[in-house]
């Protein structure tokens, strides 16, 4: 009698695990845009991301490349980020444009990311809405992300009143931008 119970329990458990596994592998679809993520330059990160897609996408701070911030990617993958981050249909590797990814789960909460693709390479990753607005998501959203020159806050000498740079000697000051500003004083 005991054997019957044990066998039945084992079979039932195995069945449930199998069902779970099946559901899990079907949910994660990997598109070629995502696969180009791993190939693309900006993502240098290896490994800690989830199935490639997760790593660049789910790190809300673009945990690509920089060694430290892969943390968010690692943790997001482990908390079951749901597969690919690129949701748009077009998986043509030569597609360009901006794609909003699925909302993925990180240990700080759900995050939605946006990736910009140009000529089949990821050129930018941004965390969009962090669906929580409490302290934990603000904290993680302050992490540094790769910045493209074109995306910096535009600044021209005509707009600023002061210049911040590494400390310069008095002599170097003479030929510096700050000196020019001070002289012209805006």
């Amino acid at each position: 009698m005991k054997i019957r119970g044990t066998v039945a329990a084992a079979l039932a458990s195995a069945g449930i695990l199998l069902a779970g596994w099946q559901t899990g592998t079907q949910a994660g679809g990997i598109s070629t845009v995502a696969s180009s993520t791993t190939a693309a330059g900006t993502t240098g990160s290896t490994g800690t991301g989830s199935s490639g897609t997760g790593s660049s996408g789910t790190g809300p701070t673009g945990s690509t490349g920089s060694s430290g911030s892969t943390g968010s990617a690692g943790s997001s993958s482990s908390s079951g980020s749901s597969g690919s981050t690129s949701s748009s249909g077009s998986s043509n590797s030569s597609a360009s444009g901006t794609y909003k990814g699925n909302t993925v789960q990180t240990r700080f909460g759900p995050v939605q990311v946006q990736i910009t693709v140009a000529s089949g390479k990821i050129t930018d990753v941004t965390a969009l809405q962090l669906t929580n607005t409490d302290g934990k998501s603000i904290q993680i959203s302050n992490r540094a992300a790769p910045l493209l020159r074109s995306k910096v806050l535009a600044a021209q000498s005509a707009n600023i009143q002061t210049v911040s740079g590494a400390t310069i000697t008095s002599d170097a000051y003479l030929t510096s931008l700050q000196a020019a500003i001070d002289a012209a004083n805006l």
């Binding site: 707009n159 002061t162 911040s164 310069i168 510096s176 805006l186």
Partner: protein
């Protein structure tokens, strides 16, 4: 030595005065009344600058390692021991040490040769004290730049919410800017400091990495935090960058030798 200059402006006029101290140039920029009011506005700037200059020189006398008779040099030679040092010295040492703990050693006042070098924190401290003095003098709108570290108060256009705009130099070309940052106004950050190995950076001791960043700019609510963190991130690399972003309310722009950049949201265009 002070240099002054006038400027043409529509409503208020920004004027600046500079002086040399601590081996660099310190500049105070303030909006003054239009020239029709004449001398009084001009004198206010002069008076304010005098106060700031006095402050800087006093600190330089005590802390400069380039003056053989400063207390710092005496400490370095061993003529004076730290417990017998002045209150000010010990206070700054304590502050520097606290930052050493907070940055897990990325920022440290101890040079590799064992000499105590507080220059990493003195400039920030001087700016901080100068800012306090300026506020005490009743000056609400000003921008103080000491060798690339900036602290502001108020607005370049008094009465408006317009922030001061600080540009960040491009380490590849000192004469151009890579980006800018808004200080004061409605922004909660009033200070920005930049550290780098591009120029004089003796107080940045490498912490076990290969000099990942060549320039780091940190914007924060106070100048000492910005200054220390900028130094710490240059020394500590990405790990320190993440730590700073996690634990302090700062905006960071970090530039690598190859020109690539990392930036927290504050430096990114939205």
């Amino acid at each position: 030595m002070q240099q002054t200059s006038d400027a043409n402006a529509a409503t208020s006029t920004l004027k600046a005065r500079t002086f040399q101290c601590m081996g660099t140039v310190i500049g105070l920029t303030m909006p003054v009344d239009s020239p029709t009011e004449g001398q009084p506005g001009f004198d206010e700037l002069g008076a304010a600058t005098a106060v700031v200059e006095r402050l800087f020189r006093d600190l330089d006398e005590t802390f400069s390692l380039y003056r053989p008779d400063s207390e710092a040099s005496k400490l370095a030679r061993g003529d004076v021991k730290l417990p017998q040092a002045s209150v000010q010295m010990r206070e700054r040492y304590a502050e520097a040490h606290e930052w050493r703990l907070r940055t897990e050693g990325a920022f440290t006042p101890e040079r590799p040769d064992g000499v105590l070098d507080l220059s990493g924190i003195i400039k920030g401290h001087a700016i901080r004290e100068a800012g306090t003095s300026l506020l005490a003098l009743g000056r609400r709108d000003w921008c103080l730049n000491a060798g690339g570290d900036v602290l502001v108060s108020g607005s370049p256009r008094p009465g408006s919410a317009e922030p001061w705009k600080a540009g960040v130099v491009d380490p590849a070309d000192r004469r151009t800017l890579i980006t800018g940052y808004a200080l004061g106004g409605t922004n909660r950050h009033a200070a920005i400091a930049t550290s780098g190995s591009a120029e004089r950076g003796e107080h940045i001791w490498r912490v076990g990495n290969d000099g990942e960043f060549i320039q780091v700019s940190v914007a924060a609510a106070d100048i000492v935090t910005a200054d220390v963190l900028a130094t710490a991130i240059v020394a500590g690399g990405t790990r320190m960058l993440n730590r700073a972003a996690d634990h302090w309310d700062v905006a960071v722009l970090a530039i690598r030798a190859d020109g690539s950049m990392l930036a927290t949201p504050g430096f990114q265009s939205s």
